[in-house]
Symmetry: C2
Subunit: 458 residues, 2 copies
């Protein structure tokens, strides 16, 4: 099927192959998946109030009942969540008092606009914290709090393109899809680079592609934790490959997509360091992932010297605007500021340790039960055999690709939660394969033979 | 000065002229403005907790004190807010119970992803409401709740470009700056069209520019309320101009930027109707403006047939993604759903009437006091002589351009608030001009001689 690689031989996923499809279809007859359900049928209609609603209170009551039911669903769904890298464990009660203000950080965080209901003082405090983490002087960085990891990537790649208008974008094929979306949006030439079985960028292939395009500058997306396998590209090797291929520092721009691990890596011993002391151009990280936040948000940091390339001055805002969005959620900085202050570096360090420990626990229990599983060093993402039952996948909200599922062990994923999951999975799995009378799939191509427990490799 | 047009002769603002400027400078010696203050100096630093903070509670107390002070500032700043089109009057107390969930509407609103903590059922309810408002069948539209008006514009222009890859973008020079940002991001050819004194697009100039570029399809941004003057481009005349210039319906794409008035216009009698029964491609509107919302958000609607042009299928999300952002704030749909349900069409109608009435009141009082002022028919944006004192401008959070300031009369802008403003403005203004021993500026070029109260035109 176009676009969706169903067999193990076809590892490359080509979005262009499905552009004309209205709704994605299931992967094949054997694995009939409801890839998405049209939500029109279950949507909560907006209805016109009756004339007497204010006096009867009927409408108010109906809405309160819908919200109470919805809240119950959220509690249940939050409890059974494992697949996405979101820390669902936070308490922002102290910030509830601010919810009835319309807080908007219009434009550049470092230049006040005339709109007074903003939270720039918190935003810049948060940015300064990340500047310390990634080792860049206050006077030398520029950044802002974004709406999500994707906005950080869109911004980083755009800065790269403005610095090198005819640069070629290089990204490993396991990069987040927003990188390839950026290439299409920005009309950039893009080279997809092969990956190792761990999910890391294959620097041999990278070198080969660089040598074919020596006449054009390089813009590189480096993954600090890929979406599916949590693989960390080797930044130092990427830089060395560039240098060895004849690209001096003024001929390349590196954006580090640290959506999840950008904030965890600094606390992992032996991890290759993400720092502006190396020749990188920008780093982005999500705020709703490891930190935890009611809504998506992120942090994007780049070098001030690059930012003039895409600034434009708009008098009516009394503010330059080098952000993508312009109007920006002023509550997100408050959430981040609050958590960073409460936990501090030490608090995060402790949580990173807990996550890594719990991830190892999960991987070991899976392997003990004869289930293929991989855990990259430096990562808390456990990749394992995709459960055969799609209802089970949905119940635990697992993100899947080909024969793989993964669980991203976040601070909200406790040993108890993992045990609940394993207690359900292991007996259910026996039944799935007994009933279908087939063997569990081989995952050697996806996670390496040493991590595969199929009949051939166990 | 490059980029900032200070005199009346230089009406065209050219962002490219200031790209290299690190910080915008003041407009000139006579009017020394602090266009922006570097917020590093006033930022609220994130500090590492002490080892004994948990037992002493010192950190908690210090943070509570900062937040309480901040809350007080917000109350004051909200009270003195007039310049931006945000309805600051809302009460979402009923939704506070949902703040501790990490709600994320990943990807396409109409296709569920495996992440269960979402609010798609509310989102689609809101979208359906807007589909009814703009007259498009449920089966024929596609849309999503965005992070702000800018995201709607970025999406609308991108859809246009995907439909017509070699199309030229036409937008009046008074369009929101995000339109020109989109052109640059997307590497599109862009023609800036002149405006009438009201701020509307000048269709004579539009026609002339179309005739010079007949070989390429046209992508047009139509303003349903410009940022500065609240001018509404005449959609019918734009379509007629296209047709008369030899552009059949399959050779143009119209995006309607209805950031503010997209939601007010349907309730104004005699206003040219924004409807998908006309040959338009997309409409966007902001949610934090007329509706009111704690954080920026918006609604983007387009025709389903266009959306396949930019879809891409990402298996790991089990969700197509034709949005710009991918990860999306799941709280915004709840806020919108709540207000739409409570107020309904009738409630909005009443509020639109109140806004228009109060806007006329303000314009009349200003003119009575001998102050140049303009109020476009169909608009609640009052453009008037820019106050000479920048401290005053900041206190009332007025958005300014050249010699103009404006007040956007939103539901939260009451007669009392306007009276408070006028009582401060009128005597202060007398002193400003007496002290400087100059005449108030002429605004004829900006708002028309008939609205100008300068020595020459009064």
């Amino acid at each position: 099927m176009a676009g969706l690689a169903s067999g193990k031989g076809s590892l490359i996923f080509d979005p262009a192959g499905v552009v004309a499809e209205a709704v994605p279809k299931a992967v094949g007859k054997e694995r009939e998946i409801v890839l998405g359900r049209n939500v029109h049928t279950t949507c909560l209609e907006v209805t016109e109030p009756d004339a007497d609603d204010e006096s009867t209170g009927d409408k108010e009551a109906a809405m309160a009942s819908i919200l109470a039911r919805y809240r119950k669903t959220l509690v249940e769904r939050t409890k059974h969540h494992l697949g996405y890298p979101y820390n669902l464990d936070f308490d922002y009660g102290a910030l509830t008092q601010l919810q009835h203000f319309s807080i908007n950080n219009l434009g550049d965080p470092f230049i006040e606009s005339n709109y007074g209901v903003h939270s720039r003082q918190f935003e810049v405090g948060v940015l300064d914290w990340f500047a310390r983490l990634w080792e860049i002087e206050k006077e030398e960085y520029w950044g802002y709090i974004t709406n999500c990891g994707t906005e950080g990537n869109l911004h980083g790649i755009l800065v790269g393109r403005e610095v090198f208008p005819d640069g070629i974008l290089y990204a490993s094929k396991e990069s987040h899809y927003s990188i390839f979306k950026a290439a299409r949006m920005y009309r950039m030439e893009c080279e997809k680079v092969e990956t190792l079985v761990t999910g890391e960028i294959d620097c041999e292939d990278f070198r080969a592609k660089l040598l074919l395009n020596k006449d054009k500058p390089a813009i590189i997306n480096v993954n600090i934790g890929t979406t599916v396998k949590g693989a960390v590209d080797d930044l130092d090797l990427v830089i060395k490959t560039l240098e060895d291929s004849g690209f001096p520092h003024d001929r390349f721009y590196i954006h580090c997509d640290g959506a999840l691990f950008g904030l965890m890596m600094p606390f992992v011993k032996l991890a290759p360091k993400v720092t502006f002391k190396k020749p990188i151009g920008s780093v982005s990280v999500s705020g709703h992932k490891f930190v935890g936040c009611p809504m998506p948000c992120g942090v994007q940091l780049t070098r001030l010297q690059h930012i003039n390339a895409l600034s434009s001055n708009v008098e009516y805002l009394a503010s330059r605007d080098a952000t993508i969005m312009g109007s920006r959620n002023g509550h997100a900085p408050l959430f981040l500021w609050y958590t960073l202050n409460r936990k501090g570096y030490k608090g995060f360090q402790k949580e990173v340790q807990k996550c890594l420990r719990n991830a190892h626990y999960l991987k070991d229990r899976l392997r003990d039960a004869g289930i293929s599983a991989m855990l990259n060093e430096l990562s808390s993402t456990v990749v394992f055999e995709r459960p055969r039952d799609e209802e089970f996948v949905r119940r635990w909200q697992l993100a899947c690709e080909r024969n793989m599922a993964h669980i991203v062990v976040m601070p909200s994923v406790t040993i108890e939660k993992l045990d609940d999951f394993l207690i359900e999975l292991i007996p259910a799995r026996e039944i799935w394969y007994k009933e279908a009378n087939v063997e569990p799939p081989c995952l050697a191509d996806d996670v390496g033979a040493e991590n595969c427990s199929c009949a051939l490799h166990k």
